[in-house]
Amino acid sequence: MITISVKEWERRKHFVQFEEEDITRLKELLPVVEKQVDKVVEQLYENFEAIPELSRILHAEEGRLEKLKRMQRAYFLQLFEGDYGSDYLNNRLKVGMAHHRINLGVDWYLGAYSMYIRLVMPIILDHYKKDPAKGQAAFASAIKIIHLDQDVAISTYLSAREEVIAEQSEEILELSTPVVQLWDGIVAAPIIGTLDSQRTQLFMERLLQTIVDTKSPVALVDITGVPAIDTATAQHLIDTINAVKLLGSTVVITGVSPSIAQTLVHLGIDLSDILTRSSLAEGLKVALKQLNLVMTTKGA
């Protein structure tokens, strides 16, 4: 979950020029908005309920609407309560997380806020109608704190997304390096995508462990799924092959496409010590031969 430090919060407040006089102005408005809060909340939810997608979210569980209205009321009043320290910040972070939990997209959130501002504006301007300059200043203060709220909410949205992305990248890393036993004494490892050093490390560890676990003298490393090869990837492959050799096993690189063969030669990468074949099937034949195994057609 996201946390914003108090220092960071102060920096953001400073940036929108949220100052002592803003706090005073907002506090002054509290008795005014207290009288109007129920009306504002009702109006807001009336607008929300007119939209089928939002209505579904609002009625997703028993009593959610009432709960949300209660929270909305507290939220609204807190804007004018005059305490904008760490408690306020934590409360706003929770609000952002709550939106994320009920799957309310950031577009809905911002749209709703625009309605909010349109409902609040007349209340403030009406209250100061004899002193329009003061009304404007008070409205500006409200805009500042509302902006800060949005700032925090969007930060929580972003960090929730980033968490998902981080989890997925990790999953992809896990998924993309399977090592399977193909036959007694033969393991196969298809590589999909490019090999960077982090993946190589994981791949190498898995391949070596599987070779030892299955006591396999031959390992087929299939690079059919490698779109392009560069010197770094080639070096990672060579490292892996050398490590396998140390275990006492042999690697056959399979799936060397014409374009990869061309690249390897043009880059001057020497794989002449390494057994290579154009397809996994050809590699399997080499492996069977090394193990003195013969496959025949039944009855032939």
């Binding site: 490390q201 190498m204 560890e205 070596l208 462990q209 070779i211 030892v212 006591k215 396999s216 003298p217 490292d239 892996t240 050398n242 490590a243 396998v244 050799k245 140390l246 275990l247 006492g248 096993s249």
Partner: protein
């Protein structure tokens, strides 16, 4: 005091050498000495050095293994290293430690098979 830590067993024509998990430099030096002496006395044809117990292999140990293999070759013997740990192999590769042309096998069984095959 380390004498007992290295074991060199003669099985038919082959010497099987095993080492403790974390050998120090002195022990590694002794390893070379003892293997060569026993090879000389026993007239064995080959040496299998099983390092399956070893979790950490430093450059000195690696170097000594290669060196010993060369000496064994000079004495007319053949060397196979067996049972290297995956983690040791990864580290060795990353450090750029090479074992030259020494043969490697997954375990002592396959190393014995290979020795036998080469004697025929």
């Amino acid at each position: 005091m380390y004498e007992g830590s290295i074991s060199v067993i003669k099985i038919r024509n082959v010497l099987l050498v095993t080492v403790p998990p974390d050998p120090d430099d002195e022990l590694i030096n002794q390893l070379q000495e003892r293997v060569l002496q026993i090879l000389d006395q026993s007239k064995a044809k080959g040496v299998i050095m099983d390092i399956s117990t070893v979790d950490i292999l430093d450059s000195f140990f690696a170097h000594t293994l290669v060196e010993t293999a060369k000496m064994i070759a000079l004495m007319g013997g053949r060397t196979i290293i067996s049972g290297m740990n995956p983690s040791v192999a990864v580290t060795a590769t990353q450090l750029g430690l090479t074992f030259g042309d020494i043969d490697t096998e997954l375990d002592v069984d396959s190393a014995l098979d290979r020795m036998e095959a080469s004697e025929d």
